[in-house]
């Protein structure tokens, strides 16, 4: 049997449950890839070899004895290095924390352990999940995370290693996090599926806080279907996170009985790269095969200013000690040595104004989205940028991203899946943003699109990776 490097979880799990694939052998394959390809891409902080093999042997024994736990039993995975793991360093991507161990398992880590998944690596990330205002890819203790499609380009961030590891076939899936763009950006640049769930769907306990009212954890995987399987395993109420949604969530892989309705924000792709725009327009035509697509407009509100101010204010507080202690002077990106100073002068009244306007934003967006299952847009306005290039050439706060502002500001779920390639062979992505708590609706659209296209079945060539 061919090594199941890029086999979707739904298929892989069938082989594992029937004893056709050994979790121990599978784990060895992925550990070897992490230790070779992964390190070359700067995608890995720590390979958890001994823990992984221990978990794999346990899974194999349980399955042999007829105690199969479900779809993730015996499946290797990687964690963004902001998820705490007992006895293993948790660096938050930051050089000063290279050896730091937080002796607890994050709730998401515990849930995956209970599901029988095998933790193979702590994956690279932008230092403090970009919370210090980085402007270029070399902002991680691993060095700049390299894109498996072209190592001279960036993976996106801040869940950089999570995107690269899934794209390069180093793990079947990874967990990342998003405050604003940190799952969708690497999913776009690396050509994989990335799901940002509704705020509160997955417990944040044991994950680094960047911005308490914007932070979300979520899966990156080969397909939308995989994301649904993973989300079911790690979602649910948690007494250790007061913002966790109290209802349990079940993945529904069945297609909906009615024609889906998709909205596109007026002019949302106007300033996108030409190839991104072209791939988006082609994807819209494909979507019209099974859904209605209509243009909509939103009321005039300063969406980006609202979400950006919330992020700046909460990050200033979350990292106050780290900034004031001088720890940031030892970070990798020179701009992160001084980047957070400006927001320490943000006024409390401005933060509260942003929180008051957030209510108006939620009302406006809820009203506009009411008739639709999802809003579609390019996942990013540009493909992966060169590894040495400053991508944030303007001052923080000036980047135009209305989808990111309303999606994260309103706590809405979104999924990014690949929708084509540029002439240079770099993937582009389309995102479907849904109503709160309705992950199944956006997963159904993404699944239907992937049923009609094969972009998700294309992978970087081994020599590229």
């Amino acid at each position: 049997m061919k090594p199941p490097i890029y086999t979707p979880i739904s298929e892989l799990s069938k082989h594992i449950s029937k004893g056709k694939v050994s979790p121990v052998e599978l784990t060895e394959i992925f550990l070897n890839r992490l230790e070779t390809i992964g390190l070359g891409l700067n995608a890995v902080v720590t390979v958890t070899r001994s823990l992984a093999l221990k978990q794999a042997r346990k899974a194999e024994k349980e399955i042999e004895e007829g105690n199969y736990r479900g779809s993730l039993h015996g499946v290797p995975w990687g964690a963004k290095d902001l998820l705490s793991t007992m006895g293993i360093p948790t660096t938050w991507g930051a050089e000063p924390f290279r050896e730091r161990i937080i002796n607890t398992d994050a709730t998401a880590v515990k849930k995956l352990q209970e599901a029988g998944a095998i933790l193979c690596a702590k994956l690279s990330m932008i230092e403090f999940a970009g919370g210090m205002g980085y402007r270029q890819p070399n902002a991680s203790l691993t060095g700049p995370p390299r894109n498996p499609w072209n190592p001279d380009t960036w993976t996106g961030g801040s869940s950089s290693g999570s995107g690269a590891a899934v794209a390069a076939g180093l793990v079947p899936f990874a967990i990342g996090s998003e405050t604003w763009g940190s799952i969708l950006s690497p999913a776009n640049n690396c050509g994989v599926a990335g799901l940002r769930p509704t705020y509160g769907r997955i417990s944040r306990h044991g994950a680094m806080a960047l911005c308490w009212t914007l932070d979300k954890l979520g899966p990156l995987a080969q397909t939308a279907d995989d994301c649904g399987i993973i989300l079911q395993a790690i979602s649910g109420p948690d007494p250790l996170d007061s913002t966790s949604i109290q209802k349990t969530w079940k993945y529904n892989p069945r297609p909906p009985k009615r024609r889906q309705r998709i909205a596109v924000l007026l002019g949302v792709a106007d300033d996108a790269n030409l190839e991104v725009k072209d791939n988006f327009n082609k994807a819209i035509n494909t979507l019209k095969g099974f859904a209605s697509v209509e243009e909509i407009d939103l009321p005039d509100l300063p969406y980006e200013a609202i979400t950006r101010t919330i992020l700046n204010a909460e990050a200033a507080s979350a990292f106050e000690d780290i900034v004031n202690s001088g720890t940031i002077q030892h970070l990798t990106a020179p701009e992160d040595h001084w980047g957070p100073y400006a927001r320490t002068a943000l006024l409390a009244t401005d933060y509260l104004r942003a929180m008051r306007l957030r209510g108006k934003m939620i009302k406006a967006v809820t009203e506009a989205m009411k008739p639709y299952d999802a809003v579609a847009a390019p996942s990013s306005k540009k493909p992966a940028t060169p590894i040495g290039e400053e991508f944030r050439k303007v001052a923080p706060g000036a980047t135009k991203d209305i989808m990111g502002a309303i999606g994260n500001g309103c706590g809405l779920p979104a999924i990014s899946i690949p929708n084509g390639f540029t002439g240079a062979g770099l993937p582009t992505g389309i995102q479907f943003m849904g109503k709160p708590y309705e992950e199944n609706a956006i997963l159904a659209i993404a699944r239907a699109y992937q049923g009609l296209t094969d972009w998700h079945k294309r992978h970087p060539k081994p020599q590229d990776a």
Partner: protein
């Protein structure tokens, strides 16, 4: 555009706190960051809010009072 005197007052605060840690060039970048933050604030301040428009945040006293 933010008010210049507001920029200067808040910039002085930042300079007082962190001025000894940065170069002149870096301090100029910090100023640009501050202007961007105040730009966003200025845009938000232009939106009319009523007294009853409360912050959208989750708060409830601890316990089972209901």
């Amino acid at each position: 555009m933010p008010n210049n005197s507001e920029v200067e007052i808040l910039f002085t605060l930042i300079e007082t706190r962190y001025g000894d840690r940065v170069t002149v060039e870096e301090l100029e970048e910090v100023r640009k960051g501050l202007v961007a933050i105040l730009d966003a604030a200025t845009t938000m301040r232009a939106v009319k809010l009523e007294n009853g428009d409360e912050p959208h945040q989750f708060f409830k006293p601890r316990g089972d009072g209901e």
